[in-house]
């Protein structure tokens, strides 16, 4: 089967796996919000360090995330180059100083501020990535849906999320099957020299059957759920619900405490950037 570099849940017996999906969701969201708000290099580095520790505790193996990690790295390199080419002095604007390290070409001198800014862009990205890895590889999808319901998301929406997670592998199988079938018929998907209109036509040879079989699946599943009386009552119980333990409460408290501290630390001098040049 075609190699996929998608992340998926792997059952293991560790502290992180035993935490409720709700706890991990709160950790993930707190991490995203904090990382979005701050640009303080020290906070970002602490967040990366915490994530790495969690990696070790959750016994996540390198091969589980290697494919995705390499892809992120490639994206980051392209992004950094694009920022430098289009806006070589963004760092100087942010840190209000200009220290030319080496002349490059006209209007694109390499400055210490720009390098430091780009370093921050990269680590900001890498603070969020590990929290997603940990969340995805340690959280059981069904348990996650029940956790969403626990924090007040209507159970219909939670159930939709549960269906989404449940159906991703199925739809992916369908996708590969249709793609293989079309390639067997002689429709080459990866032809580099094809015209744009030809490429769109070939892609639609996959999208049409895939979407229409999905529409049928939607009919079948919703009829089945209707027969079982889904949605008749205001509440429902969850097979995979976990009760919150002491470890959950402590983890949630620690996460929120760190978030408050990080935001206070970042904004206490009125700027979200840490400025070593001042």
């Amino acid at each position: 089967m075609a190699a996929t570099r998608m992340l998926s849940y792997v059952e293991k017996d560790t502290f992180v796996h035993h935490l409720s999906g709700l706890t991990k969701l709160i950790f993930f969201l707190a991490w995203c919000i904090t990382s979005a708000m701050t640009y303080d290099t020290r906070i970002l580095l602490v967040m990366i360090a915490v994530s790495l520790v969690l990696f070790v505790i959750s016994k996540t193996q390198w091969k589980q995330i290697a494919g995705v990690f390499k892809f992120i790295l490639l994206m980051m390199i392209i992004n950094v180059i694009a920022i430098f080419l289009l806006s070589p002095y963004q760092g100087c604007e942010i840190y209000h100083s200009k220290t030319v390290l080496a002349p490059f070409f006209a209007g694109h001198d390499i400055t210490a501020e720009e390098l430091f800014y780009l370093f921050n862009v990269v680590i900001k990205y890498f603070t969020v990535a590990p929290s997603i890895f940990i969340f995805l590889v340690t959280t059981n999808p069904s348990e996650f849906a029940s956790s969403m319901n626990l924090i007040g998301v209507p159970y219909t929406v939670s159930y939709a999320i549960s269906i989404a997670l449940r159906y991703i592998p199925d739809v992916q199988d369908d996708y590969h099957r249709i793609k293989n079938a079309q390639e067997a018929r002689g429709i080459e998907m990866n032809a580099a020299n094809a015209k744009l209109s030809e490429r769109i036509r070939r892609t639609s040879a996959i999208i049409f059957p895939l979407l229409f079989s999905t529409m049928e699946e939607i009919d079948v599943v919703s009829n089945a759920m209707e027969l079982r009386g889904f949605g008749k009552k205001k509440k429902r119980t969850w097979y995979a619900r976990k009760k919150l333990t002491k470890a959950d409460y402590i983890s949630i408290a620690a996460t929120l405490a760190f978030m408050v501290f990080a935001l206070w630390f970042t904004y206490r001098d009125g700027s979200r950037f840490y400025n070593p040049f001042a």
Binding site: F71, A82, I207
Partner: protein
């Protein structure tokens, strides 16, 4: 049937779930157009299609959840400033789901024009306005870079939705209309 149920009933729950799964899987299908780091995304046509058939709430959730999950699963990170604009497109197209009459088999030339006007405008709001502004606010990226990216994303999305989205709706509306309408005997 009470009002709330008709808005997000069983069919909508399932459509949101399986639709999101489809959107996520199609993240890996990209049509390169020769500009580095930019590609046509057929998943946008699918989002437009599902919004037009099932309405704004389904469109919004597929956009948000599908983009966030697809990013997370394939790229290992979520670019939040590009997740929220996705919902704008879903909501805008979904808002005229009734007028598009896809399910009833009435999606014709007039509806296709409406669909494309709405998708071009809502994509413009999403990718030229909201996404770059969020990029600047959240990630402090240079303005010229994010607006340039936004314009390319807008062009790519309206192109793929105009071609693939419209064709999908025309084809589906024909099938859906046929199978559900009985003809009166003479």
């Amino acid at each position: 049937m009470d009002k709330k149920k008709s808005k997000f009933g069983i069919r909508e729950v399932v459509a949101t779930g399986i639709g999101t799964a489809l959107f996520v899987v199609l993240t890996e299908v990209q049509i390169p157009i020769g500009i580095p780091n930019t590609a046509l995304q057929p998943r946008m046509a699918v989002l437009a299609f599902l919004s037009a058939v099932f309405g704004p709430l389904v469109g919004a959730i597929i956009g948000l959840l599908g983009h966030a999950l697809g990013d997370a699963l394939f790229y290992g990170s979520v670019w939040w400033s590009w997740v929220f604009p996705e919902a704008i497109v879903g909501i805008a197209i979904g808002a005229c789901a009734k007028k598009l009459k896809v399910r009833a088999g009435g999606f014709g030339r007039k509806e296709a024009v409406l669909f494309n006007v709405v998708q071009i405008v809502s994509n413009a709001v999403a990718w030229i306005l909201v996404a770059p502004v969020l990029d600047i606010l959240v990630y402090a990226e240079p303005a010229n870079k994010v607006f340039l990216q936004g314009v390319f994303a807008w062009l790519g999305n309206i192109l793929i939705i105009a071609i693939l989205g419209t064709l999908l709706l025309l084809a589906y509306s024909k099938i859906a209309g046929k199978s559900s309408s009985l003809e009166m005997e003479d």
